[in-house]
């Protein structure tokens, strides 16, 4: 299944038709409705989607961080071991040591009443047999690895004494404590300024190279995927709708949804005061998914066939999408939009 430009290092994670539902307020929410992708060792994969697309739930499934009412089907094999259905004690061992996760708001990820050094050593000692002094040494090592300035001093500081970017570095250091092979960054830079985002992304790239760590970048920002990812999965209404290398995807966007997403982002290169191409409507309610293709009500290519759910297939080598009609339309490169938001 691997897209054409896969790294040669070997398959780390294989997700096949992952489906996750859980109960919220008495209703069954279909948060993930068919997610499939591959991840090689040391690869950076971007999972892009808007809120409600299921991208976060999909990632949390890998970590076993789902509400008790969750039902998971499909498969997620990490280095051969099946994660779906893994019992809690085993997942707890995996969490942090094989797969680690970094979340959006560094302020909420850190205990405000605990010194950051202690928060790191706590994580270290959970995944190793190191004693207190050895753990402290390792913690400072990690802080230096994430380029936290004045690491020895900052070891004793509290989160509120640091900026947002520094806090996120600390969170990353904690995530690295167990020496994971995969780091999931769930909107990890969305709460940061763009200059700080550039710093953190540069750090993640460096860690990817130095530690051979794979990274899954979850975001709503296609621009981020374009700049940093090897491969990109686009999700809509809980399912993967397009999957390709970043180069392929942006050289020739296929899915009407991805095209709409790309078109709607303001670009520096476009002149001011233009109209952005928009599509009306909203994503479907995950507790009340319609039959057939979930994007159908908003799609300009929709036909009667779309009442039947399109399969996720490799229509071109290394480029997967789920649409009956996209193959017929030439792939869009860039955007050709006039002032009224009409696509030519």
């Amino acid at each position: 299944m691997t897209p054409a430009a896969a790294l040669q290092s070997g398959l780390l994670l294989e997700v096949r038709d992952l489906r996750v539902t859980f109960t919220r307020g008495g209703r069954r929410v279909h948060a993930v409705n068919g997610l499939s992708y591959d991840l090689d060792e040391g690869e950076l994969l971007a999972i892009i989607g808007e809120s409600g697309s299921g991208k976060t739930v999909g990632a949390r499934t890998l970590m076993g961080l789902l509400p008790p009412s969750a039902r998971v089907s499909g498969s997620a094999r990490f280095d051969g071991t099946e994660l779906v259905g893994m019992p809690e004690p085993q997942i707890r061992h995996w969490r942090g040591s094989e797969i680690a996760m970094v979340f959006q708001d560094p302020t909420r990820s850190l205990n405000p009443t605990m010194r950051i050094g202690r928060q790191i050593t706590e994580a270290i000692r959970q995944h190793s047999e190191l004693d207190r002094d050895a753990a402290k040494e390792r913690a400072i090592e990690l802080l230096k690895l994430v380029h936290l300035p004045a690491a020895e001093r900052r070891f004793y500081e509290y989160p509120h004494q640091m900026s947002g970017g520094m806090r996120q570095r600390v969170v990353i250091a904690i995530a690295l404590a167990g020496e994971p092979r995969l780091l999931i960054a769930d909107e990890a830079t969305s709460a940061l300024d763009v200059t700080t985002q550039a710093q953190i992304m540069a750090l993640l790239l460096e860690l990817q190279e130095r530690l051979g760590m794979a990274i899954i970048l979850i975001s709503h920002d296609l621009g981020l995927a374009a700049s940093y990812a090897q491969n990109v999965v686009v999700m809509y209404a809980g399912r993967a709708v397009e999957y390709a290398t970043a180069r392929q995807l942006f050289a020739g966007v296929r899915m009407p949804y991805t095209r709409a997403l790309l078109g709607a982002i303001p670009q520096l290169e476009r002149p001011s005061h233009g109209q952005l191409p928009v599509i009306t409507g909203q994503p479907p309610d995950p507790a009340a998914l319609p039959e057939g293709c979930p994007f159908r009500p908003r799609c300009d290519l929709a036909t009667d066939k779309c009442a039947e759910s399109p399969p996720f297939l490799e229509h071109e080598p290394g480029h997967w999408w789920a649409c009956w009609n996209a193959a017929a339309v030439p792939a869009v490169v860039g955007d050709d939009v006039d002032d009224d938001g009409v696509r030519s």
Binding site: D193, T196, Q197, G223, S227, V278, G334
Partner: protein
């Protein structure tokens, strides 16, 4: 009050200063946050000025200071010729009639207990538009203008609306009195990309149809450029540079603007080239103890001795381009010493 015609200055801000006291332990007054320091700019009639800045830049405080909520510590805010700083409460309310604001939090800016029609009607009531039937008619007109069917949405409360719809209601309320200036404080930051585009298009459409001026504040430079004629870049409470949006993007003159542009990820749509962001060094300094001289000097690759001792003033380097830097970049004219590498 007449609306300023094209060319006249609608809003003139001079040397605006806003500071906040930080409470030390035990409630004792501690340090001072220099949120806005000596900011000056103008907005012309029918023009959109974008203000871009990151966390701690003071852009939201600036917006609040312009509307006098709360009043800034010092400076001049001339709106339609009148200095708002000198007015008492009642005259301020009258003078502010032509100035409205759209906020970042779509749900927070609407009273959760009120219905949509009441929310949009509020400024009409506050400024004494009579009779009630005229107000109702105007409310329906406004809701249509922002794309919300009054018969469907009129009776709803904010929690029965989506984020984008709430923002439309907020916009309808803001234009109810035909303001000359609408201040938009990160109005789309909390919205999903596709809805964001819809709301931005609405802003543009209203601008063209009603001849509005905007003061558009955001942390997203591409977004600001999309809607603005001119853009002002803020860093740590001060203006780094102001210029026409296209010019600013193609030829940034302040090192911070350049760094900001370099930090934006994405693709160049024309060439398909991947833009790999270049990170800016250092951490953002604290607005409580800003660096002496030029506040950007601690992170600026071109900083010199002079930058620490002398605060650069915002001056017009070229026609229409103001920069606050001793060694601006990309200068075409030879009136300023070139940047040392």
């Amino acid at each position: 009050m007449t609306r300023a015609t094209n060319g006249g200055s609608l809003l003139e801000v001079r040397d605006l200063v806003q500071e906040f006291a930080v409470r030390g332990p035990g409630g004792v007054k501690g340090a001072v946050v220099h949120a806005v320091s000596d900011v000056s700019f103008e907005v012309g009639g029918g023009e959109t000025l974008g203000i871009v800045g990151e966390t701690g830049s003071g852009k939201t405080t600036l917006a609040r200071s312009v509307i006098q909520a709360p009043r800034p510590k010092a400076g001049e805010v001339r709106f339609l010729g009148t200095d708002l700083m000198r007015l008492g409460r009642r005259s301020l309310t009258q003078a502010r009639r032509q100035m409205q604001m759209v906020y970042q939090d779509p749900f927070g800016s609407l009273n959760p207990r009120w219905r949509v029609t009441q929310l949009v009607e509020e400024p009409l009531v506050g400024y004494g538009v009579k009779p009630a039937s005229a107000r109702r008619a105007r409310v329906n007109e406004l809701l249509d203008l922002v794309g919300l069917d009054p018969s469907v949405y009129g009776k709803r409360r904010p929690h029965e609306l989506s984020g984008g719809q709430c923002q439309r209601v907020a916009i309808a309320r803001a234009i109810a009195l035909n303001p000359a200036l609408v201040i938009c404080d990160e109005p789309v930051a909390a919205l999903d990309v596709l809805i964001q585009a819809q709301v931005l298009n609405l802003f543009e459409r209203l601008r063209a149809e009603l001849g509005l001026s905007y003061l558009f504040i955001s942390h997203d430079l591409a977004l600001v450029k999309q809607v603005s004629d001119r853009v002002a870049v803020m860093y740590l409470g001060q203006l780094a540079e102001i210029g026409p949006s296209e010019e600013l993007y193609r030829r940034p003159m302040h090192p911070y603007t350049s760094a900001l542009l370099d930090s934006i990820p994405g693709l160049d749509p024309a060439t398909g080239e991947v833009r790999r962001p270049v990170p800016l060094a250092g951490e953002p300094p604290s607005p409580i103890e800003p660096p002496s001289g030029c506040r950007f000097r601690t992170r600026c690759p071109f900083a010199q001795q002079r930058c620490a001792t002398e605060t650069p003033a915002l001056r017009e380097i070229e026609p229409g381009r103001q920069v606050a830097c001793h060694f601006p970049l990309n200068v075409v004219a030879d009136s300023v010493p070139a940047a040392a590498t």
